[in-house]
């Protein structure tokens, strides 16, 4: 098991390195390959209508005049150890993880991202609790009562849930229940107001995922309930309740938890649609704004953050899977 954990952790680190290379390449190498001059590239990091002097200064500041390998080395160093930028005579230290300074705010990207993180994390975790509970229980009940009225009603609702876009369900629910809109209150300031404001976004986001999870759970349960070991469990004289929970659900939930981990990882990188619909100042909104403002350091920071969450979620899921399934752990 220890070997397994170490192998997977190393794999995750490697994946992060590759991610950083790809991100670096997208931002600094691909544009050059596509024919941009160093000046044009540097101009993008200055803001609107840069002067030639600004461009020259930025080239030096970002090290765009250096060889690619040196640039990448500084990029990585900035993320893990921080780096110094020189503004003419003065230098400024950008603490790790450093993704540079926003053009717009002139502030380092990372602290802003951390601020936004609380909103996105609140949204993701609240919604995920709702959708996991609702999706799995509806899926199990549907599978156990396959073909019943409940099953059909649940599956039709689920179909609606997966096909209706968030901005539709979100705006509809806002119009119906909270025409004044939501405003984020930090959980540390006022937990009650925090929950009250997030309730509608949670439900909207959870509706989509619950629909997905209900279908997944239903399909998984139907398959598992036909397995030989379920027949064995019944042959032992186990009450049906235990057959369903300890035997069938246990086997069904394991792959679903994998999907769950990845979904959370994905959401932590920004629930773009939900955050936009409800005007929540989370990572997703930050990303949209960054792209609209052409604020490349911000875009780069969000990209790396989202990639980080996905890689970490993958790692956690892998480890959890090994805990849940002895065939993985012991092979």
């Amino acid at each position: 098991m220890a070997g397994f954990v170490i192998r997977r952790a190393l794999g995750a680190v490697l994946l992060l390195v590759v991610t950083s290379m790809v991100t670096f390449a997208i931002f600094f190498v691909v544009p050059r390959l596509a024919g941009q001059t160093v000046d044009q590239l540097a101009a993008q990091y200055v803001g609107k209508d840069p002067s030639q002097a600004e461009i020259e200064a930025t080239k030096v500041k970002l090290g765009l005049d250096q060889p690619i390998t040196v640039q990448y080395g500084r990029f990585v160093k900035g993320i893990v150890a921080g780096r110094e930028y020189s503004f003419g005579p003065s230098t400024e230290y950008c603490p790790p993880p450093c993704f540079g300074y926003s053009f717009k705010t002139q502030r380092p990207v990372w602290p802003d991202l951390v601020d936004r993180m609380e909103v996105t994390a609140s949204l993701a975790f609240g919604a995920s609790v709702l959708w996991l509970l609702a999706g799995v229980s509806i899926g199990v009940l549907s599978a156990l009562r396959k073909g019943s009225f409940f099953d059909r009603a649940a599956m039709i609702t689920a179909l609606a849930g997966v096909s209706l876009p968030i901005f539709f369900t979100g705006l509809l629910s806002l119009a119906l229940f909270l025409p004044t809109g939501v405003s984020y209150v930090s959980i540390t300031d006022d937990p009650l107001a925090w929950a009250k404001n997030l309730l509608l976004p949670w439900i909207t986001l959870a509706f989509l995922y619950a629909a997905l999870y209900a279908r997944l759970t239903r399909a998984g349960m139907l398959e598992t309930m036909g397995e030989d070991y379920i027949r064995t469990a019944r042959a032992k004289g186990l009450p049906e309740r235990i057959v369903v929970t300890r035997h069938a659900l246990r086997a069904t939930l394991t792959p679903i938890l994998t999907v769950f981990g990845l979904d959370i990882g994905l959401l932590l990188g920004g629930a773009v649609l939900t955050e936009s619909t409800f005007s929540l100042p989370g990572i997703g909104r930050y990303a949209i704004d960054a792209i609209n403002n052409n604020d490349l350091p911000q875009v780069l920071g969000v990209t790396m953050l989202a990639a980080f969450f996905i890689v970490v979620a993958n790692l956690i899921v892998d480890l959890l899977y090994a805990v849940a399934d002895p065939r993985v752990r012991l092979s």
Partner: protein, 339 residues
């Protein structure tokens, strides 16, 4: 005479499907006493598993009729909760593929402990000790270590032993073994069969041993039921079935048992063609498309199962004298010549 421990009378099992009613078991009757073994033999689809699952009450969406008596309890009249309490404690079952029949996420020990603790109010520690005892009893080396292993860490034969340990953990009085050795290689097969026989002696269990191989049941069984397309073709003591079989299908099964020489089996003995689909069962005697002795009656009338000697029943239209003549003159020399 008292009724045997397990008594099945005129059992019928049918499944409503999209293609119509599938009558998987028709008018099957047999009895098994404590300490006795009944072998049920037949090709794939003949209704062996459905019969045993019908006894265990493990069929979903099936219609059962007839009578099943287990130690004086009518299983078809008992509530599902009553039957559940009998499962595992009074009647237990082992299955063909022990890998898929055991839960992949729980250790072998956990699964035996669970089986034991449903029916006995004991602590986990006591149940664990019992599980180790059972593993020891079925011949698993170092049971105190292996008890924590998972099914996939066992070899096929060891897994089936563990399955047997689980089934016998509550000391059931009826054990149904549905093709317990089909998934195993030949030497392991023999070991498992020996184990079942030894345990049966120790526990005085009534055993139903299901297989499609007459050779497997020949040594272990007291009585043998040969099934074809959901019906009893022949039902006799093992001795009668091997020395005086009267059904052409049984002859075919005897002829297709492994032979010592490599000579091709006599044409009369080979069972041609494939088992019928249960959705389109041939009219009359279901065996007639494959039977060398089929006549007009075979094609139109279902032959009744009639007693030809005490405890020996056969369902075939050929007159008894004629059947015995065919066996003596044509079949027996061919079957025995091959050994």
């Amino acid at each position: 005479m008292t009724a045997p421990f397990l008594q099945v009378k005129d059992l019928q099992v049918s499944f409503p499907t999209d293609d119509g009613l599938v009558r998987s078991v028709n008018d099957v009757s047999f009895g098994v006493a404590r300490g006795e073994t009944l072998g049920i033999v037949g090709e794939s689809g003949s209704g062996k598993s459905v019969t045993s699952l019908a006894i265990m009450g493990l069929l979903k969406g099936a219609k059962r009729s007839g009578e099943i008596w287990l130690d004086g309890i009518s299983l078809l009249d008992a509530s599902s909760e009553e039957v559940r309490k009998l499962r595992g404690r009074k009647m237990a079952m082992i299955f063909q593929d022990p890998l898929s029949a055991m839960h992949p996420f729980y250790s072998v020990g956990q699964q035996i402990i669970e089986a034991y603790r449903i029916h006995h109010r004991v602590t986990k520690a006591v149940a664990r000790k019992h599980a180790i005892d059972m593993l020891n009893r079925v011949g698993i080396p170092r049971p105190d270590k292996r008890v924590d292993d998972y099914p996939h860490q066992f070899s096929g034969g060891m897994r089936q032993r563990a399955m047997i340990a689980m089934a016998l953990s509550c000391d059931p009085e009826l054990l149904i073994a549905d093709e317990p050795t089909t998934a195993l290689d030949v030497t392991v097969q023999a070991q498992i069969l020996d184990l079942i026989r030894d345990l049966q002696r120790d526990f005085n269990t009534a055993v139903i041993l299901i297989t499609h191989d007459l050779g497997v049941v020949s040594e272990l069984s007291d009585n043998i039921l040969v099934m074809y397309a959901g019906r009893a073709a022949e039902y006799a003591s093992a001795e009668d079935l091997f020395t005086a079989p009267e059904h052409p299908y049984t002859w075919g099964l005897l002829g297709s048992m492994p032979r010592l020489d490599a000579e091709p089996t006599d044409r009369l003995l080979q069972i041609k063609g494939t088992p019928p689909s249960m959705i389109n069962v041939p009219a009359g005697c279901a065996f007639h498309p494959r039977c060398p002795y089929a006549d007009l009656a075979s094609r139109t009338l279902v032959p009744p199962l009639t007693e030809v000697a005490p405890g020996h029943r056969v369902a075939c239209h050929i007159p008894v004298e004629e059947r015995r003549r065919i066996w003596q003159h044509d079949i027996r020399p061919a079957v025995e010549g091959g050994r």
